[in-house]
Symmetry: C2
Subunit: 353 residues, 2 copies
């Protein structure tokens, strides 16, 4: 077990800068008395930095980040930055350079949270999204740009190596959960090449996990099930783009991506893993203390668990669950809690202690 | 105006065979006294045919279909057929060979229909999905099949030619609707090549439609809006795969793809367009008279409109709307209508007359 956590912190833009301090506050509370100390390095990355210097991230910064045990990311982005610059230049650069081949996104419905579904039922599943392949490789190009003869391609690259390792992680995840149920989501009736590879690998790896029940859903059908019967899912494994789409929809049905956390994992520990709230930088509410830090705090729980600090992780998660229950209770008696970003952080940190 | 409609009919498999006769019944009712006569040719295509002959569709059948004015398709497919065989060999073969570059999918919420949303609000939008490009081209391949070094690719091909014509159709559609509102859905922050092309074309064509208000949503965000605020959409234009995904989710929020119709259009009339319910062959309920023919009947209304028979189309659509209202009224007094497939067809045909 690490005795010092060397944490790279990327607050980013907008509310990213407000929620990250709350995540750190709760992290410190969780580590008190554990013998584990925290050492943080701040990285000034995101839209502001890009406007100031024209840089997304330098090679030196990337090397520096690699010397850390984990990364906590708030949110990056601003409408003033052209589309793709920060996504490809910073976020995806980090995911690819740090070989974040598992993007882990739990979806859980907390009773009392406002949801667009008439009857959300019992939603508690995890999406294991591939993070280093598929349509996110940046493979493809344009010929005859800007002409009536323009052709633009995007190539989804899928390797047995890349699919096998994320599928194995998904089986391990399913094996560790009570329901032992894994759903492959793809579109193998149309994307026959990639679809065939994903099916073969799931079948082959599945023989090593006889207790895990495996089924399959086309991505289009999966978007229906998320709305009509989300309780059917336990662990979903899918490619990079389908995972992007499904986890946003999953965020919507559980009451907003404002509550969801995400781990960009390098499970073998060759590079630091990165933990973040799923929400964006929300420039419209930035600087007003209105942002809910609970997704960032859940990201901290994921990080602790990834670093092998299971007890501390469980304490943070329990404190988050208790806070969500307190919100529901207050809501139920018609007196919803009104708290600033840091008041929520304080309350959860106190509960952790 | 056509004086005889030469209609190619593909009942297909399962409930396809039950709903198509109801569609034809209503079509005949709509044409009575109009001076337009109907001439149908049945094509035996689908899972049963494939099991019997090993063929999906022959070149001769395809040529024969091309001599028709339109195609009415029930549903093809059965779990006994390997994935991809009928999709690629029949459905996509038809869409590509007949240059169905617009896939038109209206989504409308009928009050009283059971929906998973707590408050569906006023849902009434149309998805204009590209039908002949993107990831559906069958471009891509596998190297080192079945080995640990396997690489499978899928290539999304987007041309200015292909994007321009579907975008133009979408602008025309938006121009003809009261809200004059078009939303481009893509993922241009990651799929920068194709994304750039789609944006450019929407901008350029948009200058010709100054009354149409244009906005943009990433596909992942669009899956959220469909659940949290579907009323925001009027006309959506998007690529082949995103359209596939969004229209299934749209079906779910409006109370099931069982009610949705789809037109695979060749707007320039070089080849016959194809109209179909969005639902599948539903082998589990086939042969029991339980299938709801309303999606097929809506497809017939789309077909009439495409063939320039606007009055007949409006009568069919009004009869469908009236039937949906009757269902809601019966439901509201706790006495839901219980009718067989053909009883529903009879009722709507009578209303058309
Ligand atoms: C910002 C964007 C590159 C990113 C993605 O598409 O992966 C985001 O949508 C996410 O899900 O983390
Ligand atoms: C059956 C399949 C090929 C098809 C598609 O993906 O287009 C279907 O899902 C649809 O939406 O019509």
């Amino acid at each position: 077990m690490t005795q010092t956590i060397k944490l790279a912190v990327i607050p980013g833009d907008g509310i990213g800068k407000e929620v990250v301090p709350e995540g750190l506050k709760v992290l410190e509370a969780a580590l008190e008395g554990s013998g584990v100390t925290l050492e943080t390095t701040d990285f000034d990355l995101g839209a502001e930095r890009w406007h100031r210097t024209g840089e997304t991230i330098t090679d030196a910064e990337l090397e520096d980040i690699k010397t850390h045990d984990a990364i906590l990311l708030g949110a990056v982005g601003d409408p003033s930055v052209p589309s793709g610059v920060l996504e490809r230049g910073l976020l995806l650069r980090l995911r690819f350079a740090l070989d974040h081949y598992v993007n882990l996104r739990p979806s859980k419905y907390y009773p009392g949270v406002a949801t667009p579904l008439a009857d959300p039922g019992d939603i508690d599943f995890v999406v294991v999204r591939e993070g280093t392949e598929g349509l996110y490789c940046g493979n493809g190009g344009i010929v005859r740009t800007g002409t009536p003869q323009e052709i633009a391609t995007e190539v989804s690259v899928n390797t047995a190596y890349g699919v096998e390792r994320v599928v194995r992680y998904a089986f391990e995840t399913a094996q560790a959960r009570p329901a032992h149920h894994l759903t492959l989501v793809h579109k193998h009736n149309v994307l026959v090449n990639a679809g065939h590879l994903w099916r073969r690998v799931v079948e082959e790896v599945g023989t090593e996990y006889p207790e895990v029940k495996v089924d399959y859903s086309h991505v289009d059908a999966a978007t229906i099930y998320l709305v009509t019967d989300p309780g059917r899912f336990d662990v979903i494994v899918t490619d990079n783009l389908f995972g992007d789409i499904l986890t946003d929809e999953a965020g919507a049905i559980t009451g907003g991506i404002g509550l969801s956390a995400s781990g960009n994992l390098n499970p073998v520990g060759e590079f630091p893993s990165m933990f973040e709230p799923v929400h964006g930088s929300a420039p419209d509410i930035a600087g007003q203390g209105k942002a809910d830090p609970v997704a960032t705090i859940s990201a901290v729980a994921m990080m602790l668990s990834h670093l092998g600090l299971g007890t501390a992780a469980a304490r943070v998660q329990a404190a988050v669950d208790a806070d969500m229950a307190a919100r529901a209770a207050a809501e139920a008696v018609g007196a919803p809690l009104v708290r600033t970003t840091s008041e929520i952080g304080d309350a959860i940190a106190a509960a952790v202690r």
